[in-house]
Amino acid sequence: MTATAAPPAKPGTSAASRAVSHLFKARETGIVIALLLVIVVATIVNPNFLFSSDGFRDLLLTPSLLLLVAVGQAVVIITRNVDLSVGSVLGLTAYLTGRLFIDVPGIPIIVVFIAGIALGAALGLINGALVAFAKVPALVITLGTLYVYRGINVAWTGSDRINASDLPAAFRGLGTGQILYIPILTIIAVVVLVIAAWVLRNLRSGREFYAIGSDPDAAHLYGLRVTRRILTAFLLSGALSGLAGVLYAARYGTVSSQAGTGWELQAIGAAVIGGVAISGGVGTLWGAAIGAYLLLTINRALPILGIQDFWQRAVVGALIIGAIVLDRVLALRQSRKLLEIREEGR
């Protein structure tokens, strides 16, 4: 028979050493090392990059919002879809946040959060419904809603903008405040990440996202609730973009009709760099989150390293291509190895 038996676990192989070897093999390890490398190099060139109170705070704070969007995006990509509308969703909810504080004086902050997340979820649900029921590729649907949502935003905002003075101090404090030197935004982002990653790893619904992305036809034959899961993925992506939108207002204070433009590409880039396969079924939310940190940290490190402005985008692009090429090479090597094992087993 051609089955390849697992090499029996060596006696004395402890759970700890297996965990270590797993850690070395994990795709995420590579990007963590890359991230540390960037931080170390930038810090050597300019110690303030890490060893100043602002430097340390920015290191954690800047990628937090992108992390939220990238986590939602990663869930969608894992189901073999894509959500291009996240930047527009973020822009709309950021503006909504400002408007609520202006139009409803004394509105509780928590209500604003709920409203922002709800709007994001509703917009995500529209994406999901169009993709799941109309059976049109997500790329086309969300490209459409990217423009539609942004158009609504421009029509609503006009030349107006939200200014920091429009927002209550307590709310703005969220954007800059820290607990034990850790920015509040980072804490929120990491809590969301931990919960979402746990769900994707440990719940049936979470595993079904992977199954659907790995082979949609097989998922259908398995009797999985494909439509519901795809709706959920887009809903989640929308809700997290909505949350990021509220936090965007808190962090930056100023919201114009162009807030969040281009975030969709950064979020996809972060997920891909983090090892989430664009063809679905592979990758972790932790990977996408670290990808977001790597992407934005490099962005901040490049000027310090004296790399000219217009080269910075090229470096980011090279990083994305490099990540995809790396994944492809690893996949080819693995399938070749599996093939060889099968041939030997004959």
Partner: protein, 509 residues
């Protein structure tokens, strides 16, 4: 309503389909599907391609909904709207091509959608893994439950499908041509598993084209033809000849009108063609006027060899010579120019542009020669297409009709016409009659025979043994990437060819 019980069987049948009908538009795929599966018994369903077996299976699986007829599960009428419903009712279907998630682990594939969970809904990985191991131990196979499914052999993937059915505790197990891509040992392993499942009281349905397997494994058999139920018999009371007669419903000889042809010089010579993991050291030749059949199981690497010869796929070593000159690697354009044609296996995806007209498709491979100063007019296109459409008797409303609207048999004629228009010296046809009706089949066979008579060298890949035996002057057999047999027409019998196609390497040597 009350269910009339036959006096001899006290327990109601596990699954009973009666006069089930299914049509797609104007095409009736299933006229009258009738089959009964008893508990603790293995039932064979046989019939030619296009007899409606797969449609029947998909209705049982809940993938299609029937237009008419009744389905009874243990005596109670049921109606499945989805695969989830039929699964919940205890029906497991194993398709010819296993449908698994390549990126997920073996264990996850077995339990997806119904993983064991603890109180908080968290998947209990340990329990899941232990159960997978237990099932594999019971089946007597060693598959690593933690590895990803990608890269497993078809045989192992089928074992995973069976493990899935066992973990579901399915009472009815449908296997649609599970042995199509298995070697002898793997078939034996599968049969042992199937018998033990039967002995546990489950009902199994086994679809196969191989009579020896049907007789070795099954207790009863139902024959279908052209979407209709023909007969059900106990295996002990029937014979291969009887079943063939029921399946084909006509004399086999008239299906394969083999004409005498003058065999000339070697036109296509293949030497030592190798591509790691796909095919190894494949050498053979085809002479002018000769039809060489390439037999073997699905997945034996036959199509891959054909694609490599034509230059669509790469190969690592070996050489291909066409009419005395070496053919460059990986260059279909040159291959075509030198007179090689490949009619691919999947005509809808690889052979035709379904949205384009019949005449566009027929002239697709000879565009350059039709063009005047780089421009092609509809008139020249239609004129060229008309020649082949009438010669091949393509049945179409007009040459401007979209090719996708034609029947399978006529689509196949269009693909053939496309390549014949290039006036090739060597024609490679891959499964030329798959999924087309019996009448058109014999027309295609007659055409191939005529072409050989006119001096064309033909390499015919086919999984249908009667077709290979009926048409070929010489039969080559491939198994798991190796050429394992070569028989002149006089020595090629179902037994010799099947043995070369399925026997283990050690035995074959």
């Amino acid at each position: 309503m009350t269910v009339a019980q036959p006096p001899t069987t006290p327990a109601p049948p596990a699954l009973e389909l009666s006069k089930v009908v299914k049509s797609f538009g104007a095409v009736v795929a299933l006229r009258s599907g009738t089959v009964t599966l008893e508990q603790g018994s293995i039932h064979a369903l046989i019939g030619e391609n296009g007899a409606g077996k797969s449609t029947l299976v998909k209705i049982i699986a809940g993938l299609y909904r029937r237009d008419a007829g009744t389905i009874k599960l243990r005596g109670e009428e049921v109606d499945f709207h989805s695969t989830a419903q039929s699964k919940a009712a205890g029906i497991a279907v194993i398709y010819q091509e296993p449908t698994l998630f390549p990126d997920l682990s073996v264990t996850e594939n077995i339990f997806m959608g119904r993983q064991p969970t603890n109180r908080f809904g968290r998947i209990d990985r340990k329990a899941m893994r232990a159960e997978a191991q237990e099932i594999f131990a019971r089946l007597g196979v060693s598959i690593d439950p933690d590895r990803i499914t990608e890269g497993l052999s078809i045989a192992d993937q089928q074992i995973i499908e069976i493990a899935k059915a066992i973990s579901l505790d399915a009472r009815v197990l449908i296997m649609d041509e599970p042995t199509a891509a298995l070697s002898g040992v793997e078939v034996e392993r599968l049969f042992a598993v199937a018998r033990s499942l039967r002995d546990e009281g489950r009902a199994l349905m086994f679809i196969s084209h191989r009579f020896d397997e049907v007789f070795a494994l099954c207790d009863t058999v139902t024959v279908m033809r052209d979407g209709s139920y023909i007969a059900t018999e106990a295996i002990s009371e029937t014979s291969v000849d009887e079943l063939v007669r029921q399946m084909v419903g006509r004399d086999v000889a008239e299906l394969f009108p083999k004409l005498p042809a003058e065999i000339g010089d070697e036109v296509l010579v293949v030497e030592g063609l190798t591509r790691t993991g796909v095919f190894h050291d494949v050498s053979f030749s085809v002479r002018a006027g000769e039809i060489v059949g390439l037999a073997g199981l699905v997945g034996a690497g036959r199509s891959e060899v054909a694609r490599a010869i034509f230059g669509v796929d790469p190969y690592e070593s070996g050489r291909v010579t066409l009419a005395g000159t070496a053919l460059p690697k990986g260059n279909p354009r040159v291959a075509m120019a030198r007179g090689l044609a490949l009619v691919p296996e999947d005509r809808r995806k690889q052979g035709l542009v379904l949205d384009e007209s019949v005449s566009r498709n027929v002239t697709l491979a000879i565009r350059d020669s039709l063009a005047t100063a780089g421009l092609i007019t509809n008139r020249t296109e239609n004129a060229a297409a008309a020649v082949w459409a009438s010669r091949l008797e393509v049945k179409t409303a007009s040459l401007d009709a979209e090719t996708g609207t034609l029947s399978g048999g006529n689509q196949q004629k269009v693909v053939l016409g496309k390549w014949l228009a290039t006036e090739p010296k060597v024609l490679i046809v891959d499964e030329p009659t798959r999924g087309i009706d019996v009448g058109t089949k014999s027309e295609v066979h007659r055409l191939l025979s005529e072409l050989a008579q006119q001096g064309m060298a033909i390499l015919m890949i086919s999984s249908e043994l009667p077709e290979v035996l009926g048409m070929a002057d010489r039969v080559l057999v491939m198994r798991e990437g190796w050429l394992t047999g070569e028989f002149p027409r006089s020595e090629a019998t179902p037994e010799t060819v099947m043995f070369a196609a399925t026997a283990d390497k050690e035995e074959a040597k």
